[in-house]
């Protein structure tokens, strides 16, 4: 199983949208995909129309009470499997102070599912220095920085990078960084300039695919399904199909495969 963490310091840049729809595109290619909602706001859980009732398990049970991750898994639209989140997950930040190696809990929990899935996508909260993101960094093979092609986004991404580098150093762990541009509007001069600047900064680490701004993505989130289920032939579905192809190609890249061991 290859684990991708979708991160950024900034909220609203498309992390959840990318996690859910990339998962949908990977699943449409026949990959077995797990989405782990690490955000206490539970947006990925809602975007996949999963509701966690009082007596049902969620990711907070895994992190706070040591429940098996397998017990939390829920079937979601588009052939995705979801480890859902609830607001209770926010308590993990506080509980982490009383826990030994709190940043290792998710990585250990994922180990039992290592042969059950081809990909695990970790949808992180919009805070790079929290213990939830630290769990994602510890568990992931590939760090995907989600950068919105809008004002201040690139500066936010630059600010997040040192935090991730510091965390990686603390953990004595190496991971691959890739960048995906989102909410790209080709008609907007600013977006085009930002894309040129992002390409100049990240070069080969920037995915060839840029996710375009799309009303279909908003409709899919509101409908609780990945866009591949809502409209498999729309522009957004094609964007994520191309992104999934690139992610799958990375899996077979020997250079990247080396960095997967940690």
């Amino acid at each position: 199983m290859k684990t991708l963490a979708l991160v950024n310091q900034k909220g609203g840049c498309g992390k959840t949208t990318t996690a859910v729809n990339l998962a949908g595109a990977l699943a449409a290619r026949g990959e077995r995909v797990l989405v782990v909602d690490l955000d206490p706001q539970a947006h990925a859980t809602m975007a996949l129309s999963v509701a966690v009732e009082r007596d049902e398990r969620s990711l907070s049970d895994v992190l706070l009470r040591g429940t098996s991750l397998r017990e939390t898994l829920r079937a979601a639209p588009g052939g995705i499997v979801l480890a859902p989140s609830t607001l209770e997950l926010a308590e993990f930040e506080e509980a982490a102070g009383r826990t030994l190696n709190p940043e290792r809990v998710l990585a250990q929990a994922l180990q039992e599912l290592a042969t059950d899935f081809d990909f695990a996508l970790l949808d992180c909260p919009p805070r790079a220095d929290g213990v939830l993101t630290a769990n994602a960094l510890r568990a992931c093979d590939l760090l995907v920085l989600v950068v919105e092609m809008g004002a201040f986004a690139l500066q936010g991404a630059f600010k997040a990078l040192p935090i991730f580098e510091e965390l990686a150093e603390d953990m004595d762990k190496r991971f691959e960084l890739h960048v995906v541009g989102t909410m790209f509007d080709r008609k907007a001069e600013l977006a085009r300039e930002l894309l040129i600047g992002t390409q100049a900064r990240f070069g080969a680490r920037l995915f060839d695919t840029v996710v375009h701004q799309s009303s279909r993505l908003r409709e899919a989130a509101a409908s609780g399904v990945p866009v591949q289920v809502l409209d498999p032939f729309c522009r957004a579905a094609r964007d994520f199909e191309a992104l999934a192809e690139e992610v799958c190609a990375l899996r077979s890249d020997p250079a990247l495969a080396l960095s997967y061991t940690h």
């Binding site: 690139l154 960084l177 790209f184 080709r186 008609k187 001069e189 600013l190 085009r192 300039e193 930002l194 894309l195 040129i196 600047g197 992002t198 390409q199 100049a200 900064r201 990240f202 070069g203 080969a204 680490r205 920037l206 995915f207 060839d208 695919t209 840029v210 375009h212 032939f233 729309c234 522009r235 094609r238 964007d239 199909e241 191309a242």
Partner: protein, 223 residues
């Protein structure tokens, strides 16, 4: 993302165009400058005019970013490319109704000196399959008077102005291109140019590149 992928994202639909170009053996941005527009148009399923525009954008982008292998993040060359993206020098798009770009056009004198080409044959009902008198009248009102002009101008904005359904207009443009190819003569030497300011809105700029969404497999590069 290399320069070629950047170009495809900035001036075409991104992944589909990139796949077509790489499938045709294009590896670098600079290579596009040396490809015949007709061949590029065939690869991209686009009109010759769109292919020429695409080549021109490739040339500009290649000069701007340098067509070198993409720098690795954190490398010295990457840091050298790090100036603020917002500060990069490009004029902003003009507001709707304002002139936004200049397009070189042959002077009137040069046009007169050129040998008449069959593709510049005036549009008339029945010249192309599906071309009726009403369509000719509509397009003439918007300065689309020849087969060549029809082949190059067909787009969403012309469809909106003339009221001709978009798909019908694309069909007519396809027939016009076919007609032009069948009656092609060697191109005359380049004519002196004058600068003509073309008024266009930002929407019109991209609408011209929009192809029908119902068949993504065969849609053009700018869909």
């Amino acid at each position: 993302m290399d320069g070629l992928a950047l170009l495809c994202n900035l001036f075409a639909d991104g992944p589909l165009t990139l796949r077509r170009l790489r499938g045709a053996g294009v590896r670098r941005l600079a290579e596009l400058e040396h490809i015949e527009p007709a061949r590029l148009s065939e690869w991209l399923h686009a009109s010759p005019a769109q292919a020429r525009d695409f080549t021109e954008e490739a040339r500009r982008l290649s000069r701007r970013i340098g067509d070198e292998p993409p720098p690795q993040a954190g490398s010295a060359s990457a840091r050298a490319h790090e100036p603020s993206a917002i500060a990069l020098p490009e004029p902003p798009l003009a507001p709707p109704g304002e002139p936004i770009r200049e397009v070189p056009r042959p002077t009137a004198a040069a046009r007169e000196e050129r040998a008449p080409e069959p593709s510049s044959a005036p549009l008339r009902a029945g010249l192309l399959p599906g071309l009726d008198a009403a369509a000719v009248a509509s397009m003439t009102g918007y300065n689309v008077r020849t087969v060549q002009a029809l082949a190059e101008s067909a787009g969403l904005s012309l469809s909106r102005r003339t009221g001709i359904p978009y798909s019908s207009l694309l069909g007519l443009a396809r027939e016009a291109r076919r007609f032009a190819l069948e009656h092609a003569v060697p191109a005359p030497p380049p004519a002196p140019i004058e600068r003509v300011v073309v008024s266009a809105t930002p929407d019109a700029r991209t609408d011209e590149f929009t192809l029908p969404p119902e068949d993504p497999g065969s849609a053009g590069p700018f869909g």
